[in-house]
């Protein structure tokens, strides 16, 4: 989400599924939408029925490809080469939407002289610190500006905000000064973003794309042409992606590259345009907005950091942008502290800021697993997640759990993460023995969605309320019940504690009305707190502009402010779509922010406020009424004129000009080039996956230099191109989902119909690969990496097309669904047991969409023979780096390691 956040200002899909019907062209990449979001896919089909082109670019020919007007097969992990090719094609052939680019993006902005591009530094941007393995991002800045949140603080011992911490969790960029950046409207200045883009992508020619991705020049050109021909004043194109993009060591930059394409083509904030991020869990957007994430507080407010922030004023200074809506950071933060701590948080005690816990750079889930393996984590609570199957390197996950002192697992069925101590591959191999495992485990049955009230935030930022239908049985309880009563019990135990440590938990506001015999807390009461109210009058707030920084308002998540406007649960609005004025259906549930469905929709009008064309009218300036109007809630101050020019010294939203639609960004523009907020570069660059059979055709810097590796013996890596032993793991492997199952299977391998429909783990291979290694359709295959080996039924299919690459080399790809584990009505080996834990540096997501493997016919070895088999192959491959991180460019890696 930092990709969308840094590009446009908010970490969410820019559009909504129903609006896909208005697209003239839809590019689906990194997603098998027909399979994994089938009901949402109806809107793609609506568009196709109206004549839209549907282009699917994907390593596999899937159900989505079958319904597309064109499928182009590419090598897993080569998406930036393809997208960068589109950027280059659009720039070289003058196919970009000039007026949009000039007025709404940062294309004219001039970048500091010190900035150096990957084209100059052989795959690195300026500021690379090889010792730290990090970038110093100062040189990436706009000319005349400083990286926000760093100036002056460094001397006092505080570092610049980093990664997800900076730019509000990758959620809107701050700039140090309020004045407009230096720019060249003609976009000719050699250091303006437009020219930088041109130079950065000049080598991404159609031929380069074909050689790197494994498609043909014609296929690539057809995609680029179709996309460009269906963008402009009168036509719009949409991009759709899912975790096929995010789960890479360059995942954030893949999405960023699509953002660059869409900005150049003028497709953001307009009907039929946008970037539709498809998320895979019912409320994954919600659990990011109201985060169960280490690095942010609700509404993308950064968690205090051990190094970055000393006191409240530093925290404020680092996060309050002088311009744009982040100018009200203090109001958002203070209102949250009032929601958390009520009267206990006051101006006098700095709203308890000094007592808040602090994070380090990375306290994400993979960090935690590392710490478990090292014996540093004692207790763990898992609620509705199944890391033993769903996370990369299942063995490391399960062994991590086995080293805890205590573990709580809450789910509707006994999932693998609860059963690992007596039923797991490690128990089978003898690596884990129940009588030697000290972990104390509590399994608590959970309530299903039909047994509780609450809201989910779907993939298009829409909060939809679901009502309880029946009472949960016996010990089954909602998470609301569990965490509420857990908090109540803990507070009871600490009631008389005088310890300073317990001050904060004792200060928590923890009063929620309960109902029914089991004392279920009221979900609506929690939602009311999320919405917030004026403390003195108790009046519910109608939107975040009403939040105050003096402690007079309370709000649990500022971007959700308005969801309980007028004391009415707006998320529970269920007016049928046929009774509504337009397809936007803005009386069904409630979208954040402020019930806006397409965000940045000021960009659907030209700089004068007129629709770019009649065909694509959406939100426009009504001169007679003196306000913005249209089909959706305008994502702009209602009465700010299109030609409004901020006066000198204007602050916050007043500093955003009437012609700048991206109101969360400090300069009101979308960012083609991201000067701050990303760890691995201001522009997306093609790097190879961490494990790849190929070298980087552009640079001797092979993979993302900033990717996160670990030093665990449990997580060794396969050799890469040029290293000895690549022949042991010569194939590219990619993982995916099926319609009939959901993630790690806890919610579907427990369902009889679904288990019948997809009963067994399988792998997909091409007939050529089957012939090469002797696999039979319907027979067994063993797939192995240096982490583990699994077995699967073989599905021989030409849907897994071999690709011809540079120098005539052929690459085979193996497809693996990842739904199975040892529990449930249907069982099978877990694809994630094969994967490593190398991560994207911005969001710490593992690369499971492209790594390498070997495959051979037959079932895998049983018992203790399994780890022996894996170790033997690893030795044969000289699988390097049991402990040392892999560094490039480095000639040494091409010699035989000892």
């Amino acid at each position: 989400m930092p990709s969308l956040g840094t590009s446009f200002g908010r970490g969410g899909a820019t559009t909504f599924q129903q609006d896909l019907q208005n697209a003239d062209c839809i590019v689906i990449m990194g997603s098998n939408m027909a399979e994994n979001h089938p009901v949402g896919f109806q809107w793609v089909m609506e568009a196709r029925e109206r004549g839209a082109k549907v282009l699917h670019v994907d390593p596999r020919f899937t159900r989505t490809s079958a319904m597309a007007t064109k499928h182009v097969g590419i090598r897993a992990g080569s998406d930036i080469a393809f997208l960068g090719g589109i950027v280059n094609y659009v720039l070289q052939n003058d196919l970009y939407f000039r007026e949009y680019v000039e007025h709404y993006t940062n294309a004219p902005v001039i970048i500091r002289e010190e900035f150096a591009d990957t084209e100059e530094l052989d795959g690195l941007f300026s500021g690379w610190d090889p010792e730290q393995g990090e970038y110093d991002v100062q040189t990436w800045m706009y000319e005349g500006m400083e990286v926000h949140g760093s100036a002056g603080q460094r001397e006092e011992g505080f570092n610049a905000t980093k990664g997800e911490q900076s730019g509000h969790g990758g959620h809107g960029g701050g700039l140090q000064h309020g004045e407009p950046p230096a720019e060249d409207k003609t976009m000719q200045h050699p250091r303006c973003v437009f020219q930088l883009l041109k130079r950065h992508y000049q080598r991404y020619t159609p031929e380069f794309v074909a050689e790197t991705c494994g498609c043909t020049v014609e296929e690539f050109v057809q995609v680029a042409e179709t996309l460009a021909a269906n963008s402009g004043r009168d036509r719009t194109s949409a991009f759709v992606y899912a975790v096929g993009w995010t789960q890479h060591t360059v995942g954030v930059q893949m999405i960023r590259c699509a953002a660059v394409v869409q900005q150049l083509l003028g497709n953001i904030g307009r009907p039929g345009g946008g970037i539709m991020a498809l998320r895979g869990h019912a409320s994954i957007q919600g659990s990011t907005d109201i985060p169960t994430l280490y690095n942010i507080l609700p509404g993308y407010l950064p968690m205090p950091h051990t190094e970055t922030y000393g006191d409240l004023e530093h925290y404020m200074q680092a996060n309050t942008s002088p311009t744009g809506w982040w100018g009200h950071f203090r109001a958002y933060f203070v209102s949250l502290m009032k929601a958390y701590f009520g009267e206990n948080a006051s101006d006098e005690n700095d709203w308890l800021f000094e007592s808040l816990p602090r994070i380090d750079d990375d306290n994400s889930v993979y960090f935690t697993v590392e710490q478990m393996l090292k014996g540093k984590v004692k207790g763990y609570i898992i609620a509705g997640e199944n890391p033993a199957v769903g996370h990369a390197n299942g063995k490391a996950q399960r062994l991590g759990l086995s080293r805890l002192e205590w573990l709580v697992v809450r789910d509707v069925v006994e999932i693998e993460s609860a059963a690992f101590w007596y039923d797991s591959p490690e128990v089978e191999s003898g690596e884990l023995k129940p009588e030697e495992c000290a972990t104390e485990i509590f399994f608590l049955p959970a309530a299903s969605h039909t047994e509780k009230d609450g809201s989910f935030t779907n993939t298009q930022r829409l909060l939809q309320w679901h009502w309880q239908a029946v009472e949960p049985k016996e010990d089954c309880r909602s998470e609301l019940w569990f965490y509420f009563h857990l908090g109540r019990l803990i507070k009871q135990k600490l009631e008389d504690s005088e310890d300073e440590r317990d001050k904060l938990v004792k200060a928590l506001r923890w009063e929620y009305p309960t109902h029914s015999g089991i004392l279920e807390p009221s979900a609506e009461a929690v939602l009311q707190e999320v919405n917030g109210w004026e403390i003195e009058s108790g009046k519910f707030l109608s939107g975040y502009p009403e939040l105050k920084d003096d402690g007079s308002t309370l709000c649990g998540c500022w971007i959700y402010c308005g969801c309980f406007e007028d004391g009415i649960n707006q998320t529970a609005r269920k007016k049928p779509h046929w009774e509504q004025d337009s397809y936007v259906a803005n009386q069904w549930a409630w979208a954040w922010p402020s019930n806006r469905h397409i965000i940045y929709n000021r960009a659907s009008a030209d700089p004068d406020g007129k629709p770019w064309s009649e065909r694509k009218r959406y939100v426009w300036w009504d001169g007679e009424q003196g306000k913005w109007t249209g089909l959706d809630t305008p994502d702009f101050e209602e009465t700010k004129e299109p030609h409004y020019v901020p006066p000198d010294g204007a602050a916050a939203e007043d500093a955003i000009a009437g012609g700048h639609p991206f109101i969360m960004q400090a300069d009101g523009r979308s960012w083609l080039y991201v000067p701050q907020g990303l760890e691995d570069g201001p522009l997306p660059t093609h790097y190879e996956p961490h494990e790849s059979p190929f070298d980087n055709p552009l640079y001797s810097q092979r993979a993302n230099p900033r990717r996160q590796q670990n030093d665990l013996a449990e997580d060794p890596y396969n050799p890469v191109d040029g290293e000895p032993g690549t022949d042991v793991y010569p194939y590219v492997v990619t993982t995916y989902r099926l319609t009939e199952h959901h993630t790690a299977g806890g919610m579907t391998r427990s369902v009889n119909y679904l288990s019948e429909l997809q009963p067994a783990m399988f792998c997909e291979v091409h007939p050529d690969l089957a012939a090469e290694v002797g696999l039979e359709n319907g027979g067994w295959a063993t797939i192995y990496t240096s982490r583990s080996a699994i077995e699967a039924r073989v599905l021989v299919t030409d849907r897994m097309r071999p690709l011809r690459m540079k120098d005539g080399r052929t690459v085979h790809q193996v497809g693996l669904p990842y739904h199975w584990g040892k529990r449930g009505l249907v069982t099978g080996d877990s694809a994630n047991d094969l994967a490593h834990m190398v991560l994207d540096p911005n969001v710490h997501i593992q690369e499971v969409k492209a790594f390498t493997c070997g495959i051979r016919p037959g079932r895998r070895p049983r018992g203790a023979d399994l780890p022996r088999f894996v170790a033997e192959l690893r030795e044969r491959a000289h699988s390097r780096r049991e402990q040392d991180p892999r560094v490039e460019p480095e000639e040494v890696r091409k010699t035989t390691p000892s």
Partner: protein, 189 residues
């Protein structure tokens, strides 16, 4: 049955006489199929819900009788799904009523080889105790470099993307109050 009546019940004749020439309607109903009524007719109430699987957010109608779910169908009123559900959404009654669903707390003591029974009340008490104890034993006021920390790094919480916003809110609020920073969910997988 008298012959005339038998003849009248002959489907081919009924097709022609009852305006159902293609034999796709009432004409082909048997006495048994005529007596069938939809499961949802007997429902005591219907609740508007949202599918719990992916993030498309399809509307569901949950039909209830005698305190049990009798059917889950797509909600035609939803502007997103317009009444449709995928195989998972359609099977979600079976998810809520899975044959392997767990209804009781299970407890595994250290080095234990079997699950044991435990009351929910005792489990809650024991979990609260463990959090308080582990937290006290592992509390860090400062990092090794002397920067403020105010936390425990020995406890973590995982999960949230399948849960409600309100649940996520309470999780983050409680954990922040307790100084537990390792709070994570499926956003990274």
């Amino acid at each position: 049955m008298p012959l005339a009546k038998l003849l009248e019940s002959w489907p081919a004749l009924r097709q022609l006489r009852e305006g159902d020439p293609l034999g796709l309607g009432k004409a082909v109903q048997s006495p048994r199929s005529q007596s069938l009524v939809p499961r949802i007719d007997e429902a005591e109430h219907v609740v508007q819900s949202v599918c719990p699987y992916c993030a498309v957010g399809c509307g569901q109608l949950v039909y209830v009788k005698d305190g049990e779910i009798t059917q889950i169908e797509g909600d035609p009123a939803s502007p997103i799904s317009r009444g449709r559900l995928c195989p998972k959404g359609q099977a979600s009654k079976s998810y809520a009523q899975s044959p392997i669903r767990e209804y009781k707390v299970k407890y595994r003591r250290p080095y234990g080889t079997e699950w044991e029974e435990l009351s929910l009340e005792d489990a809650m008490e024991m979990i609260a105790e463990r959090i308080v104890k582990t937290r006290a034993e592992t509390w860090e006021w400062e990092t090794e470099d002397g920067n403020p920390a105010n936390r425990t790094m020995a406890i973590g919480n995982l999960g949230g993307a399948t849960l409600d916003n309100e649940e996520n809110y309470l999780i983050k609020k409680l954990m922040t109050g307790l100084g537990i920073v390792q709070v994570e969910n499926q956003a990274r997988i």
